[in-house]
């Protein structure tokens, strides 16, 4: 039972990791905490639903469509709504993401009302049993995709030139632009990538949950918890925090009480911020208000 809990914890935690990674990338490159990331998550899943049910596309093209759509949406949001506020107080940027969260939720509710849509799993099939641990193929897919994303990110940020440029631009935007780096363009791209990351997580989890306009809200808090646990603003921290949170939830649910699962993320946030605000891997700085 213990190993079973760990494995399902990793599967759930992989999704948290993807969401938290998307938010961390945005936070690092723009210093904005994105309150509409949960809605990127939701709209990504909705885009798949729309292209499958209304356009009648099969799985692969609809996913490609959803991801490209989200890239355009993310980049468009940066260009149209965030960039004009670049010189405004920082709190205005946060509010803009709250406004966007309303907008995206409102638009999807306008089209889908109170409908709750079920999406078939991307890979169906019976659970695979190894010893006394059994895993659904869909969960394996989630873990696999997250692993690929994490490896690609690691390689991109640590080994490629453009990845290092992006890191430099997020550390000191002014210095980066002085040496000829196009910081606004990078921010634009990062918004696109962040939105795609949200959508990937949404599409992966949609068959397990359900697709409805409010599905993103709870995920936002889970992502906050994962980020806080791992270390706010740290990319490896998002991965460690996401997986740890997933495992923790399952262990609490399995050994203590299933009603405590819901508040595990909140307790994690409160405990971490009071006891060790920098989280597991983060560095502690408090300059961004």
């Amino acid at each position: 039972m213990f190993f079973q809990l760990i494995v399902s914890g990793i599967a759930v935690g992989s999704v948290y990791t993807l969401v938290a990674l998307g938010m961390t990338i945005l936070y690092r490159s723009t210093t904005v905490v994105n309150f509409c990331h949960g809605e990127f998550f939701m709209v990504g899943a909705f885009a798949v639903v729309v292209s499958q049910q209304m356009f009648g596309w099969s799985v692969a093209p609809s996913i490609v469509f959803a991801l490209s759509l989200m890239f355009v949406v993310g980049a468009g949001i940066e260009r149209g709504l965030m960039r004009p506020l670049q010189n405004a107080p920082h709190i205005s940027l946060t509010m803009m993401t709250v406004a966007l969260s309303y907008l995206l939720k409102g638009v999807s509710r306008f089209f889908y009302g109170r409908e709750v849509i079920a999406l078939p799993p991307l890979i169906s099939g019976d659970p695979i049993a190894v010893g006394d641990v059994s895993v659904f193929p869909q969960d394996l897919l989630i873990i696999g995709v997250s692993l690929i994303v994490v490896v690609v990110f690691y390689y991109f940020f640590q080994r490629t030139r453009i990845g290092k440029v992006i890191q430099a631009a997020s550390q000191t935007p002014r210095g980066a632009s002085l040496v000829g780096i196009n910081v606004p363009l990078l921010r634009n791209l990062m918004w696109g990538v962040g939105a795609v990351m949200g959508a990937v997580a949404g599409i992966l989890i949609a068959p397990n949950t359900l697709v409805y306009p409010d599905m993103g809200g709870h995920m936002l808090i889970l992502a906050f918890a994962a980020m806080t646990l791992g270390g706010f603003g740290s990319l490896p921290g998002a991965v460690v925090g996401g997986v740890t949170l997933g495992i923790l939830e399952n262990i609490v649910g399995g050994y203590v009480s299933s009603s405590l699962v819901e508040i595990t993320p909140y307790l994690v946030i409160i405990a971490v911020l009071i006891i060790r605000p920098q989280g597991i891997m983060g560095e502690w700085r408090q300059d961004r208000a």
Partner: protein
């Protein structure tokens, strides 16, 4: 102190007469309203207090704390439950709800001494959701996820109608806004603004930063707790899902659209954002779209909200953090 010239004197007089006229109008208002509009107006009054209380922390103290819906919920639950379980009369229950809000407010102020900015935003959001979990799972006290009905309020043997509630609410709002305004114009209010601008500088001027922060949070909790107490009476029902993330974001929208650091703005924001959903309730999703467009418009064109815009155009709406000399 700024010398009070003849024009400052005139503005002060205008403001005083304006407020008196407004109050008289508000007292006469129920005579021309039907029941539905009366209910909507009552809701507006509740959210006026919510916005004023929230503004103390987010607008004046400048702390990104998102536990306001939790204070609201605590006020409503404490009021409702003390009526249900102990059969207390509404005024006493209201007092309990207000104090409960103040205590929780002060307690939430404690982490604000340690974490700032986004960290504070996240920890306070977590506190809010945690409270909601308690409402659902302490079901032998709070009646669980379905919520509970608040008993009817009796005054001199008759049940209080919406119209009667209106006067109770109006009195509470006048009391809440007046006292908050007085607090903000005292040395505490100026200390809040000093901490918002620069905490280090405030401390070096001899302001006890920690104590002042806890006072601001407790005051905010007190006012929002009072709003919660009114909410319990408003539709006679209290349930956990009223006090979740969406409530929190709506209160945030009210304060931002109204104007951070503006009491008049808080009231305007509350009125606009309470009316909007009522007008748009037949169209699913429209409420959120309108909210978001309002927010985006305010962020682009009025960085200080409606209140800030009015203050720039009309001296009548300028809210100073000191008391003007009265003898001029």
């Amino acid at each position: 102190m700024t010398p009070a010239g003849p024009s400052a004197h005139r503005v002060r007089k205008q403001r005083r007469y304006g407020l008196i006229a407004l109050l008289v109008l508000l007292c006469l208002l129920p005579l021309v309203l039907n029941d539905y509009v009366q209910f909507v107006i009552n809701t507006m009054l509740v959210y006026c207090l919510v916005a004023v209380g929230f503004n103390v922390v987010i607008g004046y103290l400048g702390q990104l704390a998102f536990a306001n819906a939790a204070f609201f919920g605590v006020g409503a639950y404490a009021t409702g439950l003390s009526m249900v379980h102990f059969g207390l009369p509404y005024p006493v229950a209201m007092l309990i709800g207000t104090c409960a809000g103040g205590i929780v407010g002060g307690a939430v102020g404690l982490p604000a001494l340690r974490v700032k900015g986004y960290y504070l935003a996240i920890i306070t959001l977590a506190v809010g959701e945690l409270m909601r979990w308690f409402y659902v799972h302490l079901d032998n006290i709070t009646y669980g996820s379905g919520g509970f009905n608040v008993p009817n309020i009796h005054v001199f043997g008759t049940t209080l109608t919406d119209r009667g509630k209106y006067y109770v609410f109006l009195a509470a709002v006048v009391l809440g806004i007046t006292s908050t305004s007085l607090l903000l114009r005292s040395r505490f209010g100026r200390a809040f603004a000093a901490i918002r601008t620069n905490e280090l500088a405030a401390a070096s001027l001899g302001i006890a930063v920690n104590r002042t922060k806890v006072i601001a949070f407790a005051w905010s909790g007190l006012i929002v707790g009072l709003a919660g107490a009114l909410y319990a009476a408003l539709n006679g029902r209290v349930s956990p899902d009223t006090f979740g993330l969406s409530q929190m974001l709506m209160q945030f929208a009210i304060v931002v659209i109204g104007g951070l650091g503006s009491l008049a703005g808080s009231v305007i924001g509350a009125v606009v954002l309470t009316a909007a959903p009522e007008l748009l309730r037949d169209f699913p999703g429209f409420e959120e779209i309108v909210f978001s467009l309002l927010l985006i418009g305010v962020l682009f064109f009025m960085p200080k909200g409606i209140g800030g815009l009015l203050a720039r155009k009309f001296p009548l709406f300028r809210e100073r953090l000191y008391r003007e000399p009265t003898d001029a």
